[in-house]
Symmetry: D2
Subunit: 288 residues, 4 copies
């Protein structure tokens, strides 16, 4: 039976590896009356490596998640942890950016409505009006922010203002065909997920399906990654591929590729909002 | 730098879930000077479920794995754990049983020689002489134990004697075409791995490829599982499938299926010898 | 340059294999001025087997597809062919049957709107009202035909009347949770496609995900097949699987399974409407 | 019943697309009493594209494959075909080049011995002696041709001499760690198959697994391709990928990658020796 005061929470830790971390963390939660439901850890190297940990726990008592945070900060300080304790009951808030293609957007919306994507989607932002009706049919606020060479800075400012006012936790670029400025990206570090329509690092840049066709590859792919200021170089969260053959023209590659795109993006977003992804330099750790 | 007295060990735990397990275990190893390198846990149900845990640790001090075992038994007793602490430096000893088909045997032998399968293979037992040369070319003892309706019991007795004298930890049925007796299976509970040439539970029993052909399936598969006295019903460790089409006759299905068989079996054996598999009733937990 | 009188057509042939079929067919189209763009054939057995062929051709002249049909009937008769010549410009008309779950329906609708599914969808029929809004948002007629034990026959009569009046070519059961009567199925032989939520023939019948969970499988699947009067036994068109592990409860298996379901069904429907599927007894030939 | 004078043959055609090719070819074989068992064609573009065709046929009469070739040359000339008619009873002769790693070699040898690879393997050439015993255990001639900077030309001359004297049809580089000279490659155009240990065009050049590790990809792959004088740029025949995660160090990526390598190479070699691969500029057409 679920206790009304019980909360599922998720702890994420990064720090230099050293003896006693697991013991200190698990002892802390035991004394707080919390039950560790799942625990995963990863060490880059047993000798002087980095330590990463994800714990799911149920708080079986009066202490709120905020009180646990306050109490845990002493443990965290002693190991110089980079950490966060997330309340699983508080859903992540997603802003979806989209242009004219709808497949990634629709996949996210379907998984959201079916409960597979346990998040809030308060708004959709687009540089086109194409997806307005879709947004409205799902009861989601739609903001049309046209972008051209001249207004890029003011457009991004408006987007950032909406992101702030809607208390957005993560931005998902669901085939948003604009390159974001360095300052925009820096203000949302590891909080922007993009879907690239190739199996990175193959076919970096524009027209990946044309390049894949020209090269005659037998598998095409898609890559979901965090956006950094190095275009197409951010930490990869998920990749997927589909088998193709000589009969696929560029058009068919695009059609097939859409399915790889939407599946890879949907999984990456799901893992992100479930606090399963940690970034280690230019790579991700995706806990199971 | 690796200390000469340092040992990698693996702890496997099953017990009823209750608060404080992780804290007690990690505190124990911290006090013993051991460093937890990897830790995975799984609870069937946060409320009154079963708790399963696998820990990889480095013993950074004088205590031998045996001394750790002795010391840990008190912790284990307090939680009524079913547990074992394995010394990763002591390789598991595999007996491979084979009949006439060589693909699974050769895959295991190749992965063993390449170091991918970190085990000892002291012997190969077969009801035919076909694989004698292969065994010898790998420097492995080969025992030909013919089996017919009359001598089944004595043949199994001889096999069990060899298993004992070679101190075998796990028996791998690499396309061994004899059904083992109940008593044989019971004497090696969760220590016999079989490869079934179908995607269980589809096509249970004989001639699965003929049945797959007759049914016109578009994927064929293979299933590696622990052997129990319910034929083809033991806990599944791993499954794999391959895409086929209408052009595959039974013969081609068999040829394709061999690749699914050898891959599924090789992974299952690898996970078993790395102490990654726990059995929970009729299912397996395979830790990553 | 595409000629305005040019038409893409597709010829499908089944007959007993015998010498000269390919020569007769290709000679016929050459003399008619048609260009064979793609040709695939399959013979179950070079000796006395069945011969199956699919040809895509461009009619480069005045003869309409109907005139080609009239002319070809002599060739067909001489080889006792079971055949049809389809005008690729005339889109197949699909009736989608659905109950309460939307994932298969939405996948079909998205692929239809994106042009990937080159068909007409004149109507959606459901035994519930749940999908009414979805249908309307796509501009598709929605018919609510409740079904219970007493009205099954009249409900099917109404559905058949709608199928006739909308000139439907194929019925797609997109998670339609009613068993169709023998007479309904017989009236639409090889024209009803169902998605079964398991990797058939594993887990036939109800609650396949519960059965998959109980059996502890490592892959779950879905099967798109033509409906026959043997429940879950019709010719398989496509199957797909997804990897799962011990952490998946029945609920997670269902969630994961939905993705296998919608992908397998979407591919099967696409192949059907592109005239790529031929039925040979209880199996399908799916031409590439 | 199979006639003793019956032969399976395979016809491969490339030419500019034009009306009447299929009719002329099929009419020719009908008149010769040959039965077309399988036929596949591909046209790059219905308007002015290239036409590719592969036919499997049984010669049901006295005419030898050579006589069919002589007779067919008139048909071929009228369409300016690039063509060849292969006698399926004459097995392709493979020379395997290998260095120190054995996984690709062993996979090929196993598939060869099991009958899956229907070819002759008269010789193995290596720049090391490591694989001598393996070659001998399979009864295959082994030639050790050391290569260094100074003797590269003479080493290649010796290899070419062996290739000629053993009447080799195709050279398979099964992890052969030497770059072949332009003249060597040109003398065996589209007759040298290499396995590249990455999902080309990602990670071109040396140390692809290190590069894959540094980039943090979630899938690693392998690519079998014909060798041209543009390193790693030849026509791709087959690719395969495997899922990896953050726990894979470079060493584990290599171990996992070997399985992708051996599977992709084995399929590519099988398709080549079954005359299923046609090269169209820098791409391949792989008929099913």
């Amino acid at each position: 039976m679920s206790n009304s005061s019980q909360h599922r929470a998720r702890l994420l830790i990064s720090c230099a590896d050293q003896p006693g971390i697991v013991a200190a963390v698990s002892d802390f939660f035991f004394k707080q009356g919390a039950n560790i439901v799942q625990s995963d850890q990863y060490t880059t190297d047993p000798e002087n490596g980095m330590f990463f940990m994800r714990i799911e726990l149920d708080t079986n008592q009066q202490a709120s998640v905020q009180e646990l945070r306050d109490a845990f900060s002493a443990v965290a300080a002693s190991f110089q942890m980079d950490w966060r304790l997330e309340d699983a009951q508080i859903k992540k808030r997603i802003a979806i950016f989209v242009s004219k293609e709808d497949h990634c957007l629709l996949e996210l919306l379907w998984r959201w409505r079916s409960g597979e994507l346990d998040a809030e989607i308060p708004l959709i932002i687009s540089n086109h009006e194409t997806m307005k009706d879709v947004a409205e049919s799902y009861g989601i606020s739609f903001y049309h922010i046209p972008v051209d060479k001249k207004n890029k800075q003011s457009a991004e400012s408006e987007a950032l203002r909406l992101i702030a006012s809607h208390r957005v936790d993560v931005v998902v670029l669901a085939r948003y065909m604009q390159i974001l400025s360095d300052s925009f990206v820096e203000s949302l570090e590891n909080k922007i997920i993009n879907i690239h329509h190739s199996f990175l690092p193959a076919f970096i840049g524009a027209n990946p399906y044309q390049k894949a066709f020209d090269r005659g590859v037998k598998l095409i792919g898609a890559t979901a990654h965090y956006v950094t200021n190095d275009l197409d170089e951010g930490p990869i969260i998920e990749q997927d591929v589909l088998r193709v053959n000589h009969r696929y023209a560029v058009k068919e590659l695009k059609v097939a590729g859409r399915n790889a795109e939407k599946l890879a993006l949907a999984r990456a977003v799901k893992w992100h909002i479930e606090d399963k992804v940690l970034v280690n330099q230019n790579k991700t750790i995706v806990f199971p």
